[in-house]
């Protein structure tokens, strides 16, 4: 319900002021209002300027939205979508750069989605809006500017992607790299570099953080026997920890190496450009971790 980086550009003209509301900058209030409207059968889509501001409204996301179907024993479902940019942008400092995937994915009653490509964004958002439960839709500000090729099927007005299913972006046989959002692009770049060194990496675009597509992740690890989890957020208690545990629980005997976890640095995001670069995973971090998991810390080819 707030104007942000022109994602909602044109919507006001198309759907009118009854359906596209400009609100005061009062997150707790307008989020709670959206939840109350959802209780009564409307389907609100709440926009946070960034997910950092969702912390002002997190009580309503969790206590009024996520838990209501359970507390009311199925009487009150909450068909609401909370969307907005999540994670680090560029030079915006500590209070504007946090990734909330792990926070929201921790809560039963929420569905948490993180699109990467244009196809993901379109299909997942449509599913999120039609889903009868609260969905947290974590976009990425830097991905807004990237272009992706799409097929005609994607442009179809009823195109939707299932919630809870990951996508194999690149098939491989030596190592599995799981990622979501912007990191999928980095993983694909790393996979390209690794392929020149004879390491074939399988890149999984998680798409859905909760529910996590444990079947796809485990099937991939059983094939490759090595795992690198990749995320932009803080490492402790992050998405990678959950993925690692899922693999330990279901596919322990298939692992040939310890699981490698790549995450952002365990510090609030610094402002200086060089420090910010160090605080977020880069492509060579992914390449190095993949090589460690393959027990090939030294480069095989003359070119690194």
């Amino acid at each position: 319900m707030m104007c942000s980086i022109q994602i909602t550009k044109g919507l006001l003209d198309k759907y009118g002021p009854d359906r596209v509301l400009d609100t005061p900058i009062t997150e707790a209030g307008f989020t709670g209002i959206a939840v109350g409207a959802a209780y009564q059968g409307l389907r609100p889509v709440v926009e946070f300027m960034t997910f950092n501001f969702s912390m002002q409204a997190i009580d309503h996301i969790i206590n009024s939205a996520a838990k209501s179907n359970y507390m009311s024993a199925g009487q009150i479902s909450v068909p609401i979508v909370f969307r907005g940019p999540n994670g680090a942008a560029a030079g915006v400092g500590a209070q504007h750069s946090q990734c909330y995937a792990a926070w929201y994915a921790h809560v039963p009653g929420l569905k948490v989605l993180a699109p990467y490509s244009a196809e993901d964004a379109r299909g997942l958002l449509k599913s999120a809006i039609r889903d009868p439960d609260p969905v947290v839709f974590l976009e990425n500000e830097l991905l807004y500017g990237e272009s992706f090729p799409i097929s005609a099927e994607v442009l179809d007005s009823s195109f939707s992607l299932p919630i809870g299913k990951a996508k194999i972006e690149r098939e491989g046989k030596d190592i599995t790299i799981t990622a979501y959002s912007k990191m999928v692009g980095y993983a694909l770049q790393a996979a390209e570099i690794l392929s020149k060194e004879g390491i074939s990496a399988e890149v999984i675009n998680l798409r859905s953080i909760r529910p996590l597509d444990r079947a796809a992740i485990n099937a991939s690890v059983r094939k490759t026997n090595r795992l690198v989890t990749l995320e932009e957020g803080f490492p402790q208690h992050g998405v990678g920890s959950e993925i690692c545990m899922s693999v330990v629980e279901e596919s322990f005997e298939y692992l040939d190496a310890p699981v490698e976890r790549i995450a952002g640095a365990d510090v609030p995001m610094p402002y200086a450009a060089n420090l910010e670069r160090m605080a977020v995973p880069q492509v060579d971090d992914i390449v190095r971790a993949a090589k460690r998991a393959c027990y090939r810390a030294a480069p095989m080819a003359a070119t690194a």
């Binding site: 009854d18 359906r19 609100t23 005061p24 009062t26 707790a28 209030g29 307008f30 989020t31 709670g32 209002i33 959206a34 109350g36 409207a37 209780y39 009564q40 059968g41 409307l42 009580d59 309503h60 206590n63 009024s64 209501s68 179907n69 359970y70 507390m71 009311s72 024993a73 199925g74 009487q75 009150i76 479902s77 068909p79 039963p108 009653g109 569905k111 990467y116 490509s117 244009a118 196809e119 599913s127 039609r130 889903d131 009868p132 439960d133 992706f148 090729p149 097929s151 994607v154 939707s160 299932p162 919630i163 809870g164 299913k165 990951a166 996508k167 194999i168 972006e169 694909l188 529910p211």
Partner: protein
């Protein structure tokens, strides 16, 4: 430049001068403020309610003639208040016998507010409450046996035992909870009002009476909370059909209203946002009902929200775990003498609307209803183990149906996708 000596008194002096005029700062006893002379009548008061301030200010309009009721109305109100009182008393008994557990917050003393407001509503109107929600549920029509079974944590409760005392939901009665955090229900209520207006004006689903109205009940402590103000603003901005009902019982858990609030006259916060603010004696059900009628009708006509401050009192502690040691005995007896049920009984008898024995038979009937509710709850089963994992989601599979009507996630080729990087 030599700095002038900076003392606390000098810093605070301008503020003291400003407020020393008409009215002394009401928290003059706090050590944070300089000692200014309070107005004499306030200094002798121990229990300080907003009505004391109003009568001191002579700012309140002269009390209108006492509102009246017909026999049927009066008996309906009496029965509802007695149900609320007897039910809560039974809750206390059951709690001390171990049948009820956790946090239980009782409504004794405040019945006039629930009855006065909710008995004016239709089925389609919504009520949003706090953790002190048993009596709001009963007034809205949730059967006493469902509420009691919910409190016992049984599968026959209105939420099948999933919610408990603080989370009463009933979709058929449009009771939208039951919230533990203070202020949490206010935005939800504002949203329900938004949906009512949206359905009426945009979807053109008109009800015969006008807009469906939402009532938000909350306490004095909540009136200092940020989301209260956010919602006063948005409700008035969009002219939503809502009534904000403040149950000012002077105590927010253990925090006294006058010690916590810069300006204790809560009704004034309405006009600050452009809506009417009304103060009413919340121990008199007929006065509450009269104010409620006006506020609900305003909302139904589409004229927007009203803030109603009901001065009331809870006879018991904040919860059954509260030893209630902070409140002074003379404050408690001052309000016990204004028991809303006794007051209505007196009115009914003095106006010859019913006899003493008729009222006694209503009480006996309610006694039986509450006993039956306990028996029902006792005899009901605990939830089955399978219920633990139910109802986390309305649709556990998640939306993802393709144009052929099948679930996409069942299609083995689907995760291939088309994007290339």
């Amino acid at each position: 430049m030599a700095a002038a000596s900076f003392t606390a008194a000098k810093f605070l002096a301008p503020v003291a001068a400003r407020s020393g005029g008409d009215r002394a700062p009401l928290h003059a006893s706090s050590s944070l403020w300089p000692r200014t002379k309070p107005a004499p009548r306030l200094r002798t008061r121990k229990a300080l309610a907003v009505s004391d301030v109003l009568s001191g200010n002579k700012a309140a309009p002269a009390a209108a003639a006492h509102p009246s009721a017909t026999r049927d109305e009066a008996l309906e109100l009496y029965e509802d208040m007695v149900l609320g009182r007897f039910f809560e008393d039974m809750c206390a008994q059951m709690y001390y016998r171990g049948k009820m557990f956790g946090f239980v917050h009782l409504y004794n003393g405040q019945e006039a507010v629930s009855t006065g407001f909710i008995k004016l509503l239709n089925q389609a109107d919504c009520v949003v409450s706090t953790y002190r929600d048993h009596v709001h549920a009963l007034s809205k029509g949730v059967p006493p046996r469902s509420v009691m079974a919910e409190l016992f944590g049984k599968a026959t409760g209105c939420c099948r035992g999933q919610g408990g005392s603080m989370h009463m939901f009933s979709a058929p009665h449009n009771l939208l909870g039951g919230f533990a955090f203070i202020g949490e229900g206010i935005p939800v209520a504002t949203g329900a009002a938004f949906a009512a207006k949206y359905r009426h004006e945009v979807l053109k689903e008109s009800g015969p009476d006008g807009l469906d109205v939402t009532l938000a009940f909350f306490g004095d402590g909540t009136c200092n909370n940020g989301q209260f103000f956010e919602c006063l603003n948005m409700a008035q901005l969009w002219k939503l059909p809502i009534v904000f009902v403040v149950e000012n019982n002077l105590w927010a858990i253990g925090m006294s209203h006058v010690r916590a609030t810069s300006d204790p006259e809560i009704w004034k916060k309405g006009p600050a946002f452009g809506m009417p603010g009304v103060h009413v004696d919340g121990m008199d059900v007929l006065k509450v009902r009269e104010v409620a009628k006006e506020a609900i009708e305003r909302a139904r006509r589409g004229e927007g929200p009203t803030l109603v401050e009901c001065e009331t009192y809870r006879f018991r502690g904040h919860s059954l775990a509260d030893p209630d040691e902070l409140r002074k005995p003379d404050e408690k007896s001052h309000y016990a003498a204004r028991d809303p049920i006794a007051a209505l009984k007196k009115y009914i008898i003095e106006q010859n609307l019913a006899t003493e024995s008729e009222l006694k038979s209503i009480e006996k009937k309610i006694d039986d209803v509450v006993e039956e509710a306990v028996e029902f709850a006792d005899a009901s089963p605990l939830p089955p183990r399978s219920q633990l994992l139910e109802n986390v989601f309305s649709d556990p599979k998640g939306f993802g149906i393709g144009s052929d009507g099948k679930y996409r996630c069942e299609d083995p080729l689907f995760t291939q996708g088309t994007a290339q990087v």
